[in-house]
Each structure stands twice: as C-alpha cells, then as structure tokens.
Amino acid sequence: MASVNELMNGWGFGQQGTIASPSIVTPNTAATIWRHTNLNTKPWAKVPVNEDDRAEIGKGHEFPTQLFKSHYNMPTFEVSKYASSEFLAWVMSFSLGNVTVAGAAAPYTYTVVPALGATNPTGLELPYFSFVQQIRPGGSAILDEILVGCAVKGWKLSIKNSPGRASAMCSAECVTTGMYTSPSGITLPAVMMPHEFNAGMISALTINGINYLTGGSGKQFVSLDASWENNFRPGFFPGSGTQDGFQIQGRFEWGDRAFAVQFVVRVQAGSTEYANLINQTTGSATITFTRDTNNIFTMDIQKMGFNVVELSNTDGIVTLQVTGVQLYDAVNGLVTMSITTPQGGICQ
C-alpha cells in the first residue's frame, strides 16, 4: 500500500539522443532528467491489450478459446503545473520543435517556433523525452519505471484574474510509445523549485492593437486560454517494435496542428473588439510574464484576427468573450515563444 503523495515524477528536460542524432528508443540519462511535482495526481498507466479468437470460425462455437498479445494502448498523461519559466520553456520546446538557445551560462534564452515538415530534420516528428515514475524505488519498490519515447501532444495555458499561483497555469498532455524499462535505473534528483509566474507579473498584454495593460483598455482584461494540439497520428507500423510481446508505437508524427486563443475582457464605452471583428482587422498579439531579468516568458502571435466576439456576463460584469483566429504570416510564421530561464539544456 502506498499513498499517491509518494509518487515521484521525473522526466527528460533534454531530448532523447542528441540534436544531431535524435532517438525515440534511447532513454534520457539521469543527467538530463529533472524532477517536478505534478498537480495531476494519477500515475501514467500502462495498458497492454489482449485480443482473442472469438471472431474466428471453425472452433465449433462462437466463444473465445485463446488470448493473443496485441499492443500497448498507452493513454495520454497530463503534467499540470503552475506556469514557470522552466516548465514553459520545456513545454514550448517539446511541443513546437524548432528551438534555439542562447547563453553560455544562466540565464538562458530559448526562442521557439513551430517546426515545419519541409525543413524539420526529423520530418513530422518532434523531440522525444523519457518519463520516470517511482514509488519507494529500491529493493522493494512499489513502482519504478522509465517510459521511453514520450512526446508532448499539446498544452493549455490559462491566465485568470484570481490571486496566487493558480492565476497562471500550464498543463502538457503527453503520449508515449509503450516502451519502458523497470526498474528504471534512474536516481531522481531533488524536486526542482521552478520560478513561477502569476497573473500579476504580466508586463505586456496587447492583442490586435488593443493594449490591455495601459491606456483606455487598461484593467479591462479578465482571462485568457491558449492551447496547442499536435494531433499525433497513430504510431503503429511494420517494424514499430514490441515490448513484452505487445506491439508498441515507433513514432509520433504531427497531424493538422491547432493553435487556439480565447480571452475575456470587460465591455466599456468605445470597446473596439467588435469593430476589429467586423472590419476583419488583424494585428499581432504579445503576452509577456516578467518575474525578474532571469525569468521571462513571451508569446508573440504574429497575426491575429477575431473569429467570434460574444457579449456575456462574467461574475456580474458585462464582458466580451473573444475567440481569436491565428493567421500564418509569410515572414514570421504563426507564433514565437521566447523564454528566459535559469535552466539550461532544455530540449538539447
């Protein structure tokens, strides 16, 4: 018996293999694994699936008589965290794929854009990482395994007008191939203390020409939800591999990716959100968190219009719920994430 509080999560902040030779089957070493707490209280389940012969005739009856190993049907797993410079750098790097890092020593600045299949060295595949979960590792471990070949399927970033750490949150939805090693052979480090942001640290908030921090629209912002979805294609193929005799996935290729942004603002005289929608006005959007000079996150949406602007009520205040449509700019692409953080080696 063990309390879920004993569950330790660690995962690769560096990618499996190397940048020059990325790998889906070579696990991270302990040197490139960090340990974090997780607001998701469930372990990452492994789900091997058996099949049977009930559909086959010639047995004299319709009932199954044998079991056959089929595949590992690994569920997605959510890493849910308060937004921090370290975690945002990790999420954005592993979910978007085209990463640069500058700095010979801390702080490091990561600039990340979505990779394109035509120029990405690994085609439609993103960097992979390993995930370690342990409960009382050692001679009598309840759980000790390293899941190999994990990828970030998508993320959600939410900003709310509430106090505390929950005002800025980020969660990553992860997938894995089914390959694992138990025991993991990894000694996890101490829990990392990330440099967290909260909504009060927003230092730039301009969307489609409207500045929500200063000027006429200052103090009118209520909340924002942004999300990314890689829509991975199933990774089973001839030669994709096996684990314990069950077929596993050998790749995660992105499908039609989706970038969504919705936000809520208070209505006031002269609100221009409606006009922007009707006139099909487009512009950039910049959202920046600044904790200090070593911990900064900026999301630069290169070209954004409004799809829906809906009058609503939020806690008794008349608001507009705006659904953005993020347009691909021929020069600057879709979105650029810039993160300054003390953590080096992310996605390297």
Binding site: N98, V99, T100, V101, A102, T109, T111, V113, L116, A118, T119, N120, P121, T298, D300, Q302, V331, N332, G333, T336, S338
Partner: protein
C-alpha cells in the same frame, strides 16, 4: 549571438539571438548548430631561408 544553419545545410551564419532576428530565419527552416571551430592562421616562417 548564436549560429544557424540553412535548411539545406550549405550555409552557417552567426546571428543575434533575439526573437525579431531569429523568427524569420527559423520559419524558413534555419536551425541552430554548434559554433564552428575557430580558424586560426598560423604563419610558419623559416628563419634561415628568410636570411
């Protein structure tokens, strides 16, 4: 400053590591590479021949 390699690998250039500079290049498919080894010019002189 960081080094980027062109999408087809035939060019490496050193660029300022700011989003404004990096974004258009990354969108075109340029990717970061390690700094190339420094080229040092070593002049070997034969003292006797010079005389």
């Amino acid at each position: 400053m960081i080094f980027l390699e062109s999408p087809n690998g035939d060019e490496v250039k050193e660029v300022e590591a700011t989003p404004k500079v990096l974004t258009p290049l990354l969108v075109m498919g340029w990717r970061q590479v390690p700094a190339p080894p420094k080229h040092e010019t070593v002049i070997l002189a034969n003292a006797k021949e010079e005389k």
